[in-house]
Subunit: 303 residues, 6 copies
Amino acid sequence: MGSNGQKEDHASELAGLFSLRKLPDAQSDYASARYVVLGVPFDNTSSYRRGSRFAPDAIRNAYWNLESFEFHYGVNIPDAMIYDAGNLFESEDVEEVIDSVETAVRYVSADGKVPILLGGEHSITVGALRNFRDCGMIIVDAHSDFRDSYMGSRFNHACVTRRALELLGPGRIVSVGTRSVSREEFESEEWKDVRFITADEVRERGIRDVIGEIRSMGFRRVYFSIDMDGIDPAYAPGVGTPEPFGLTDRDVRELIGAFAGITVAFDIVEITPVYDNGNTSVLAAKFIQEFIGQRERKASKKP
Amino acid sequence: MGSNGQKEDHASELAGLFSLRKLPDAQSDYASARYVVLGVPFDNTSSYRRGSRFAPDAIRNAYWNLESFEFHYGVNIPDAMIYDAGNLFESEDVEEVIDSVETAVRYVSADGKVPILLGGEHSITVGALRNFRDCGMIIVDAHSDFRDSYMGSRFNHACVTRRALELLGPGRIVSVGTRSVSREEFESEEWKDVRFITADEVRERGIRDVIGEIRSMGFRRVYFSIDMDGIDPAYAPGVGTPEPFGLTDRDVRELIGAFAGITVAFDIVEITPVYDNGNTSVLAAKFIQEFIGQRERKASKKP
Amino acid sequence: MGSNGQKEDHASELAGLFSLRKLPDAQSDYASARYVVLGVPFDNTSSYRRGSRFAPDAIRNAYWNLESFEFHYGVNIPDAMIYDAGNLFESEDVEEVIDSVETAVRYVSADGKVPILLGGEHSITVGALRNFRDCGMIIVDAHSDFRDSYMGSRFNHACVTRRALELLGPGRIVSVGTRSVSREEFESEEWKDVRFITADEVRERGIRDVIGEIRSMGFRRVYFSIDMDGIDPAYAPGVGTPEPFGLTDRDVRELIGAFAGITVAFDIVEITPVYDNGNTSVLAAKFIQEFIGQRERKASKKP
Amino acid sequence: MGSNGQKEDHASELAGLFSLRKLPDAQSDYASARYVVLGVPFDNTSSYRRGSRFAPDAIRNAYWNLESFEFHYGVNIPDAMIYDAGNLFESEDVEEVIDSVETAVRYVSADGKVPILLGGEHSITVGALRNFRDCGMIIVDAHSDFRDSYMGSRFNHACVTRRALELLGPGRIVSVGTRSVSREEFESEEWKDVRFITADEVRERGIRDVIGEIRSMGFRRVYFSIDMDGIDPAYAPGVGTPEPFGLTDRDVRELIGAFAGITVAFDIVEITPVYDNGNTSVLAAKFIQEFIGQRERKASKKP
Amino acid sequence: MGSNGQKEDHASELAGLFSLRKLPDAQSDYASARYVVLGVPFDNTSSYRRGSRFAPDAIRNAYWNLESFEFHYGVNIPDAMIYDAGNLFESEDVEEVIDSVETAVRYVSADGKVPILLGGEHSITVGALRNFRDCGMIIVDAHSDFRDSYMGSRFNHACVTRRALELLGPGRIVSVGTRSVSREEFESEEWKDVRFITADEVRERGIRDVIGEIRSMGFRRVYFSIDMDGIDPAYAPGVGTPEPFGLTDRDVRELIGAFAGITVAFDIVEITPVYDNGNTSVLAAKFIQEFIGQRERKASKKP
Amino acid sequence: MGSNGQKEDHASELAGLFSLRKLPDAQSDYASARYVVLGVPFDNTSSYRRGSRFAPDAIRNAYWNLESFEFHYGVNIPDAMIYDAGNLFESEDVEEVIDSVETAVRYVSADGKVPILLGGEHSITVGALRNFRDCGMIIVDAHSDFRDSYMGSRFNHACVTRRALELLGPGRIVSVGTRSVSREEFESEEWKDVRFITADEVRERGIRDVIGEIRSMGFRRVYFSIDMDGIDPAYAPGVGTPEPFGLTDRDVRELIGAFAGITVAFDIVEITPVYDNGNTSVLAAKFIQEFIGQRERKASKKP
Ligand SMILES: [Mn+2]
Ligand SMILES: [Mn+2]
Ligand SMILES: [Mn+2]
Ligand SMILES: [Mn+2]
Ligand SMILES: [Mn+2]
Ligand SMILES: [Mn+2]
Ligand SMILES: [Mn+2]
Ligand SMILES: [Mn+2]
Ligand SMILES: [Mn+2]
Ligand SMILES: [Mn+2]
Ligand SMILES: [Mn+2]
Ligand SMILES: [Mn+2]
């Protein structure tokens, strides 16, 4: 039967042979999905090495490389039921994009599914977060992103944590991997309202100790946002603003795993494929698997 | 209403905001389409600079760059009704891939639509061509692809013209841009059964004269196959086996336009994005527009 | 004597050994200069392959490669007295950037010097042009840039020719190399007010015939703007939106030379170095030499 | 005297000035050699990022960079007497290639020399291993390579460990760095017959503890195979299927050194130079030096 | 007022809008500066992967990426008063370049400022060091650079430490990160006169222990020279001769910080941008910030 | 029988399976050869984009891509009997390298064979040419290379034509493609002693007319030297100093063919692979085939 109910065409036979490029493990339809992938190819407030708009498809391609099965803890990722909605239609208006992300994430959440956003730049996080005002937030980032406004816009990717603070309030945000902060940010009155854990502190204490501290904050639901520049450029070279002395790939993996069970929304942002050797996209892909795999494992353990 | 008829979800609202990456002008559904894009990410018989399996998505991305409107002759490409079926599920077995292509193209043709294949390597042409045994064939290629068998396989990409000859018979194939031929091919008995027009001959005579010669062969329906290495590497650097002294981009554009009206299937093959600076993919994208635009223009002129 | 008049330091001795990177032939101070180079590292309204903000320094570096002497017609470029002011301080606000360009070009013009702008994206041309409302304008571009507004802004780089038309009025603008036009642009009432000469028309008629036509328009002073995507991607691969079937490098060289004598301001825009193999930057550098060399030659011929 | 005994030509004088590119430390002739380098430019069963066929020459070039003397333990590598046989003549037939490798390695072993294979893809290991059925085997790899068959072939590079198990039998193979395993492999009955040590386990225990465990297995002779994707992509980005969270370069160096004294054959596979920044090839080159240097040091210590 | 005192031009207004590319934090004039940046684009004695001549401007560009404020210890880098003199005029004669560097550094030192050299290759260090014959020297390098002469020159970049020994005498030089040494160097009589600390030794003992050892040598003033190949290629891929198993980025940061207070001259050499992904330049930029920031912090602590 | 006459080893069996990388069509031994390929990996006097030392092997690799048979005129290239001697042992001393080249070419010529040099930079031509003082010389080059001395050396690659003039005398050298000349060169007294034919002149007159002019000079034996920057950067991007507005690939092909019959030595220089997309190396490879093929064709026509 044809795609529009016409008996005479071969639409469904063709659909058995061909498919548009999506996240390889996203083999579910929307109705059955527990996770929904949303690409947001937007990078307009970025200034230095632009191009994160190409990241959603780069991550999908890199993911091809990975096994669907996570043998470390025995989860078959496609069994988690993932739907890939594709990419947001393009716009260069940051507020319009943020509003669209807000709307889409509201739909997905309302339907009882976990949104996984693929940026695009960090500013898209603000739109998604508007749907989770009662959550805690864990950010991985080299930058504090704590300017009140930058280059004339309060929605610039350099202002994400500040906007998040307005949405969630003090004591609800942890940003891990910090190592680039302007004086204006550092000396702002609100600096103390976010827990910035520097990359150096993570190196000194170990990520497990840091995880313990975050656990002690008592979040019940978490919004998890990964700006890939939080990771050291040795592991994640393909970012807009690489900053030396960062987190290791394993630090971030442990952090994801520790809170996967209570994470209700997840994003990965700020990859710029034109500056990448492929490592950054495949690491992002692996973080998605890690998030889903660990979350499913924890879900299955619940009695 | 939801994707599976469930009232309660937001599948269709989401579909209004997001979409998987397809050829930008492919805005038709299958039933209404007059052209169907089929990606075939296969490159297993290639030997030198591999990677044409990444070409279908590279062409889709590069196409983003182009206007949908062809102002030279006033055709709005999306009005031509294009459906993008995505990419063939992957296999490394050349015969299986060729069979799948044959099947898919048969469906599309049976449904009265024009297939546009995005390779992948040249060997996929053989599968498509099996559905057009009564047609003439125009090939753009630096190589004669006339070996009976290569590296142990009769379906190697170095044997395409030979297989085509078996399908169509003598006097029905023109290959334009030839400049790399082995002695074995050149001295084969069947050499005379295909009209090989060298790139040098095109340069000397001009492409319009060559078009005249092909017209005089009296084809009523044409299978049109573009191996991108037929074009000079200055214009198309991202190919597996670049060969100097080639056709110009305009030569190929004129050839496409001249026969678009009688072309019943069209393919573009042998792009290797990892070796490309973007020019090759965008040229391929433009050739697709040119094919559809010229074909539509001619269709609309018919009284 | 020191830089600030202190006798005791070695500032001037150091200045005899070291210098900041500028256009190599720019060996004049401002007061003596007849040409002033202004870099404008702005690319914020660009959407596809961003990065023209890195072009001014890329052109300066590529220029290193060239001889200072133009032996074809015997001009020593540094004798033309060139001053390189460096790059505009950065801003992401397109209107602010355009205003700054307007101001800077006004200063330079008021001081009786010819401004040479190195973009950055095409939108910067609008600021410069505001100082030349009584001139004719010659544009090299693949795109008509004739949208009234794009992505929410009337100053987007896709609207340059439209803004220019408002500044100069009908019959005063020629755009050469056109091959990408949207329906909305093509069908606009103002389309006829600009003379768009397609790349195909240049190929058919030859650039000298086209030059004759432009000469017949009777411009006495010309603003000359080169969007590098007007040139074929084979010669200029490093641009944001490469478009096949373009002008040759020599077409543009002849066009520059033909009008250099009456050109009062000159810009080169839309190079994206991260996508370049170096050819695009060195071609831009050579165009600058060609502009200055031909203009000087003509000046010296005046009796 | 000439190359063929003709007195009158200058073949030998020329050979004193010029030489074909080989591994720089390979200054021995075959008869005197204790180590024989064999390049195998084959990558036909690879599927994702192809190009390991270019690796043997890339490793030879990168090796140029290294000192011939290993000052850490005082071995002059050329004194180890190395002969570089060059590259296997090319074929796309995996079984033919494996057979040729088997034959060549048999010759080298029969002549009392240690073969060092430069892949090419991992499947070539199977051919070499057929000559060492009584040995233990140490593999460095991100993947278990434990499929019985893949993409229609039992000799696919995804099946190497499975084929090795058939050759050597249970309890004789250790694979270090494992972190990508399919369900089918993990649940196979034979999984327990190979000791897979995950990269995470190495990180937790330390490589020296892992070496202790392997020592306790009591191998007397070892075949050592390095799939470069076993190392973390931060250190070895130029591989076909990069997998995050890998071994460090030093882990592998220690492993090589610990067993060099009993290693009778050595291979390095799966480098894809087109995706490399040079680090992967130079690391491979250094591993070769490390293998030879440590082996010589141990040999010289024997009383 | 104009640049040359002419009232009538707009030179100073233009200087308020535009500036040549310099190190972004270098906002001081020469007279007020405490630090002077000197670029030396020379790479003529390098042999393998050339191109360090492009490094000074690459570092300046990468530095753009960094915040001016070092929040870890509260130093605003521009407050340290930095002047960027630009690049040395080019020459291919190594002795002439070394002499020019000697002269320039003498000027800067005589004016009571700290020179920061941006190479170019390592040989330039010799010129600078001639002004600091009573200092200790700390070198970061993979290579011992201890040949007496190489490729016919005693000023080759492979001879830097040997020349330094002649200038400073035994017991005054520490080279950290050593892992590539020729037999000739290792067996030279002077080997013991320099303290070579291998990268392996740093890994075993920890950098803090190594710092303790260097402190115990009692240097009162230090010349600090960073050959970027001392750092592991995972962190610094863009160097002429990458050598595996190196120092970490943090090792070098700690070393810089520990001796910043007594460092009187500083250089960073041997970056080859054409082989870089950007990480190496940005790490170099960060080392400069670290040097200045730590030095200022220590200065401010002095009672 | 073994390589050294030992019966017991498998050296010759191994040689039947493996071979070091050489020019693929070089299947002759030295004694039987009519053409001898000599690689000269030297680039030490180059200054801008260095790296021609990697070109000889890059050309060998690119050549792999080509058919051995030239079907345009029916010559099987290996039948021409080619021997590849490999690369000259490395030195950074330009005079030593030139002397070695002189010596090697003398051997080859004395043995009655035609030398084909693969640079390396242009300066190596001087060494070869010393053996052909009674010949005419045809140079393809963007630059006049006519400085008496540059950067302190008379053997700099910028002085090649000047040195050639000293060897051959006035009226014996034609340089085709000239478009970059310094004032000092242009105004030198000797300028008239070489026939410089600019690229513009070739474009205006056509290459066949130029060939006619050169023929009329009556050379009986020719040294043919191709600096790849003579060709337009669109066709040959991978050169040290790309110069726009160059010769086409076909211009140079025709020039080679026209004089192949009387050419007694041939070189191709100035390719820098690190800046190449592969087109430059494959074009060089094709020029070699063209030279040999046309020379053989002409030889065979002699009655
Ligand atoms: Mn960030
Ligand atoms: Mn961020
Ligand atoms: Mn083909
Ligand atoms: Mn082909
Ligand atoms: Mn434009
Ligand atoms: Mn444009
Ligand atoms: Mn493997
Ligand atoms: Mn593997
Ligand atoms: Mn050094
Ligand atoms: Mn070093
Ligand atoms: Mn030259
Ligand atoms: Mn040249």
